[in-house]
Symmetry: D2
Subunit: 311 residues, 4 copies
């Protein structure tokens, strides 16, 4: 209701239907230019790999050039809405990709595990997904918790990372926290930011251990703003309860540390903590999620409840 | 009320007041022999390092020889009660120990960070803790969530690990999930199991990133049983909502994998899942906590909600 | 003498003087097209950061489009000559970059280490370098062992990695083995291969632990060939004594495994070993070098002496 | 000849024939007490697992109580002689143990690799070993390079580590550099040091990647001394050409850093280098060996040639 009202009255709503999928996060010709404050109503591409009848967009939506965004600013993206718009989702076990078996980056002499593919039926009213699991003699039904795997700006310099990569530019963070109600803050490495999004998951486990969530197509509403004159090093999230940082890297401990050190810096900058006090306090009230252990860089989300931060 | 009733009627309640602290998890002369089904009413030692008036027990309580427990069985420990029994707790920032700074195992050329110590006042009725943080210009108050850092059996062979170590024998797992209502299953490497416990935390953050929780003394009630004719490789936990596995090792990704592979084995053994189905499903509904990144081995808790496991 | 003879008689020698430096390894407009069998006589760019009078080419030389090279082939590059052609080299300690201190990827709460810069005088006849080390009360003199940090093809897909990255495409492997007399085999991900080189080190330690070798400008002679109808997954090297593989990744153990598994595959493919026999034998005769622990991916070189491989 | 002379004239030669094998490195009743300056003439135990007729000593020799050694000193052990004294050695591929396949610490969902065992015939005159490799259609012959996998003191506190563990106490470092002519310096954690040795390898590859070298029995001559009033943190080695440090830990990068930071400290303490100068110089002249990637802690040997250290 509230959402509907917002969309109706917002003078700055932009509707964008993607017709092309981008293979990398990089500076390239923008698909649109958006003013700060824009509510972007759009949808994700969806990959042909997970549904027979599926579309032809196995890549990112964007880039959007954000007017007035400079490298001295922060991009603010509020996830207003992310909802599956398709009747199917797919999940997979993939021999060359996944966190609990040998893959192309974790190469051992063992034989690879076999491939398996699950086609899920989505009930977008009840918000459930069902798939047969014959080898387990059952049909699984789970509740959906839709999210976006990827929110990004163009990475620094002339680099171009495939959609599988997360990093300080955001990208494929695969954090379940990237759901409705979460606001994402991204560093800006190029004037205009070059914002991308994609990779809808109707549901994804923490760690995305087997390499896929429930991959499907999403309706997406994002409110995009620029915070002038502030810089950050890593993507930050905020929802009603927590402030959070997504650190990405390998090894996993480095991602863990990147996220937590940036979280401490946030506590220092915006909440007046001394650095050592913040560090020590996280020993008592810190929270974390290993978001992905399958992408070229792993992602850890460090969190602290806002109620511990007020003076 | 319920608890009190239990203690009054249980014919097999044993009260044990520790008078000696053990420096390692190992096979040694037991402090008591307990029959399966015993409700053990005891308390943790507490270390002189965190309170001026504190006692002289900086180590583990135990070992308890569990009658009839063999290497072909599993030790089952239900955490009935764990409550702070002292008016103070301490937390610290320690130059040579901690997860977000150089320490004796993560050695770099940077100068070490300084030392800092916080003395917390505990209100065990309201279940809150308070400490001044002068460098941050505030007094912190947080809610308590008491837990036990350490539950262990004697490790395999003739090895003896200091109380800082977690492992397949349990030990210093430092998982916040080790609270009232959680049942812990431990492998048994020696007849009699040689059970230890210790390391009360009135509150501990996930990861215990600065190296300490709110270290204090605890009243402890544990119900101890033996599951005959079953073996497991890593400590398993269970509460009303989840089944969980605590994997410990370095690097962090190995702890993550140990925990998740054992969780999949549990889903296969006790819930009838096919291995690949369980793997894939965790990609959608898996949960995790990085429990500690400061001990000689890191600990990750892998979790899945029981409601996804029924047939 | 021998070399001179080669250059004089070779009908396929190409002289190329770089005038532009490339910021990434990627598919882009080639600077030249070379036929297989070409002897390329050129020089590295050199970065302004290490000499006051230095040039303006802080990037890669290339790409060279290799005629007839396809994704079903291997690029063969023989390092015929790599010699410093400048009177200075520089080395540095850099606060935000280096393997034994906190940096932008290994972020901790410690204060960063200070910056320091060394200007070395090179004697290219005696092949020595000298620099004052006032803090140590001495002048260092060391023998030069010139090498190329970077030999690359364009990475797979549309990705573009800055010159700091090593990977399966080669890149900034920083292996001291990349010296005169070594032949490098690179996978090909795009028709034409798009070959790059750069990053001359008059001397570099194994691991390049502080982040720089003796950075200077090099005269380079490379013989470039295509091996038709063969594919490899990771860069392979060969000299008079060893076959070698350079695996790159993080964590370090993954780079180690990538290199060694590919080495075993080489022993199987070209020397007739059974896979397990090759694995076991490396337990007795394997050799390795940690080549870099400072770049975005670490590099390990796995080696085995050819004299153990003959039938 | 020279050696023989030494043994004949030394007034302080002790001959010790082991009759019992120790399961852990720990403080326990010494098998002998040795004065500093003693030349210990002994032999390793050898494990029944690698030869049908083999003895019954699958563990360490020791502990030797070194008179006058205190926790403020360093233990100095010169490897005078280490030579195979048996006609067989064994190597293996072990499903649950090894660096390039899943094992009990690197647990994945892949099926384990198969087991394989090689019995080698040793020619201790020609110093060669031969084994059939039927799956590869050949007989392997390699030159022997005998070494000791394990040299240790009792670890700190009351801990007891099985013979598989390396650490700051030395232990199962599995470094090929532990050969004749190398002197080892070990920290001392208990008065008397409690020195152990064992684990003869007629040949071992760097990394010991498949988990075994050529395991066999050794004649051993060690000269044992105490350096009074000096302390070190990690095992240091020295031979004619290099000073070296063996750092052990997981992940591999931590072992790498432990070794290199201690090497820099050595350069500072004994050779007058400024810390940053030493760090930077290793970027040009540092060397390293990954010694083992199969033990509970990995071992890296950091090295620098002595000729770069003189003033």
């Amino acid at each position: 209701m509230l959402l509907l009202a917002l969309l109706l009255v917002a003078p700055d709503t932009v509707r964008f239907t993607p017709t092309v999928a981008q293979p990398t996060f990089a500076v390239r010709e923008p698909v649109a230019r958006l003013a700060p404050g824009t509510v972007l109503v759009s949808r994700t591409n969806f990959g042909a790999y997970y549904t027979e009848e599926g579309g032809a967009f196995p890549g990112e939506v964007g880039p959007f050039y954000i007017e007035g965004a400079t490298t001295g600013d922060v991009l603010r993206v509020e996830i207003v809405r992310v909802r599956p718009n398709y009747r199917h989702a797919a999940s997979r076990v993939i021999p060359g990709f996944g966190g609990l078996a040998t893959d192309s980056r974790v190469r051992l002499l063992n034989d690879p595990i076999p491939s398996r593919r699950y086609l899920w039926e989505l009930d977008t009213v009840r918000m459930t997904g069902r798939t047969p699991m014959p080898a387990s003699g059952r049909t699984m039904e789970i509740d959906l918790q839709p999210m976006l795997g990827r929110l990004a700006v163009a990475p620094r310099g002339a680099e171009a990372f495939s959609g599988l990569w997360p990093g300080d530019f955001g990208g494929n963070m695969d954090a379940p926290e990237l759901r409705e109600g979460t606001t994402v803050y991204l560093p800006i490495f190029h004037d205009g930011a070059y914002f991308y999004f994609g990779d809808g998951h109707a549901r994804q486990g923490e760690g995305e251990v087997a390499g896929t969530g429930l991959e499907t197509s999403m309706d997406v509403v994002l409110k995009i703003d620029v915070i002038k004159g502030k810089t950050i090093d890593w993507p930050r999230f905020e929802d009603a309860e927590h402030i959070m940082v997504a650190g990405s890297g390998r090894p996993l401990i480095d991602a863990f540390r990147l996220a937590h050190v940036e979280l401490i810096e946030w506590m220092v900058e915006d909440y007046g903590f001394d650095k050592l006090d913040a560090y020590s306090l996280l020993g008592q009230v810190g929270e974390n999620t290993v978001a992905n252990i399958v992408d070229p860089a792993y992602t850890v989300v460090a969190k602290v409840k806002k109620r511990y931060l007020g003076r």
